[in-house]
Amino acid sequence: MWGCKGRVAAPSALPPAELQRAKGQSAPSQQSTEPEATVPAITIDKVTKRFLAPGGQTRFIVLDDISLIVGDGEFVSIVGPSGCGKSTLLNIIAGIESYDTGTVTIHPRVAAANAQPRIGYVFQSPRLLNWLTVEKNIHFVLEAQNVPRSKWPDLVAKNLAMVGLAGQERNYPLNLSGGMQQRVAIARALAIEPDILLMDEPFSHLDAITARKLRFDLMDILQRAKPTILFVTHDLSEAVFLSNKIHMMSTRPARIFKRVMIDIPRPRQPEDARVVELEKNLLREFFSVVEA
């Protein structure tokens, strides 16, 4: 129905050899080459998508043979320049865009008989329904996901508190600041208790100070709720600060050219020497590929 072929991809989908070390790193313990023995939450196996160029016969490749695994409870980032197909990949996982070859499998945490995996999505802009109160915006997704009504009050209260918006239930989105609106969007995504949470540059529309605050709060949420997150960004330092794993993408070809595991323990500080060092090394490598 939404592109899941319903099979668990073989471990070979992600050759361990691709999990390289970052070159020139100072502390080897920050990254490891060993693939963790986690239960997969998302398996993407050799996914390719082409677009027909408007007017012409030529097809250009948006995603070229992309494979990656997001383990249960992991925070995985895809970093790439704009137009590299990162958002397209998220939309494919969310089931609102098609692809040409390969398989995408989402593994529900609770293996019920006919359980549909639950997908939370935080977009670049909050995408709230401005005519509904904060509370009713969350009710909207709960209703969409057929969550029993009796659970709604608790889920709303818990997740609004989680993003620091307790007491804003009856407020309308347009009375909130941009940062607060994005917090509502995060609470909405968490409220459905998602198997996976997709985040598409969720902080890129915010000012630097608000974005920094939200990153800290997201880090805090990670400690408490342990969601599985696939995070797309063009901001490498953001990715290093937040992630367990980073996949770096290039535009042409639209491929993953490097995979990095980050072992720096959480909670992290953006100014932490290990974070800064890793960021510096990755940036150098990133631009050497992207600008080539």
């Binding site: 999505y121 329904l129 969409a144 989105p173």
Partner: protein, 264 residues
């Protein structure tokens, strides 16, 4: 007392913004009165004469029945036109096939002379209740359909995508995303439809019903009584403005409660 003086000053100051409007209104009435002096009151009544005629109208109980009949016809025609127009507009916005099929039909209906419908409906339905309602529906629904159709096209695709990502069903999307997005268009349609409906209703009544405000107008027209025609016209206009203010403005105010209002 100084306190009282400041209070009075504040009151006078608060009236100041209304001053230009009041002045032009007053000047208009004076000019109107001056012109009317040159004519017979039945041919060109002055504001005083008109007010007097209107008071006479309000004193006659049977006139309320006349207005009631017309209002009921307007309501029926307006409701049917709104229903057909909204449903068709939605379908045209959502389904490409329906859009292609009705596109040219809507354009043709919009361009067809309104007066033709009024005459045709009399020929087809005779002197009956159906004739004016039929006329209203045929003239009003294409406007509504076109407006709602444009509104459907303007719904934010991002919000629909959000709904689909969260697996919202069609009905939920319609209730919580599509219809609220359309509400500005719905309100503008409601008001346009109402003002169109009442104008057409009077024309329809004048031609082929034998009752209602339209009939009154044609009777006074045959007697050459401009003063009575104006008295009816202005009175009816007041009724429609009150309905617009009481029903639509207040409803609109409630529906758009989510829009932030700037403190005054």
């Amino acid at each position: 007392m100084p306190a009282k003086t400041t209070e009075r000053r504040a009151f006078v100051a608060s009236l100041r913004p209304m001053l230009p409007g009041a002045l032009t209104l007053g000047a208009g009435l004076v000019v109107w009165q001056l012109i009317s002096l040159a004519y017979l009151p039945v041919f060109f009544p002055g504001p005083g004469t008109l007010a007097q005629r209107m008071i006479e109208l309000y004193g006659e109980p049977s006139n309320y029945v006349v207005v009631g009949e017309t209002l009921w016809r307007i309501f029926e025609g307006f409701l049917i036109a709104m229903l057909i127009g909204t449903v068709l507009g939605l379908l045209m916005g959502l389904k490409r096939g329906i859009e292609i099929f009705f596109d040219s039909w809507i354009m043709m209906l919009l361009s067809f002379p309104a007066i033709c419908w009024a005459f045709l409906s009399v020929l087809w339905f005779g002197i009956s209740q159906v004739a004016p309602i039929f006329t209203i529906v045929l003239i009003v629904f294409p406007f509504v359909a076109m407006n709602i159709w444009a509104g459907t096209k303007a719904v934010e695709k991002d919000l629909i995508a959000m709904g689909r990502v969260y697996k919202a069903g069609r009905l939920l999307l319609l209730r919580k995303v599509l219809i609220p997005s359309l509400s500005p268009y719905l309100f503008s349609s409601l008001r346009t439809a109402l003002s169109l409906s009442w104008k057409i209703a009077l024309v329809g009544e004048a031609f082929g019903v034998g009752s209602g405000v339209g009939q009154q107008l044609i009777n006074w027209f045959q007697d050459g009584r401009v003063d009575m025609m104006l008295a009816w016209g202005v009175s009816f206009m007041i009724v429609m403005v009150i309905i617009d203010l009481l029903v639509f403005r207040m409803w609109e105010w409630r529906v758009f409660a989510w829009r932030p209002r700037f403190a005054t």
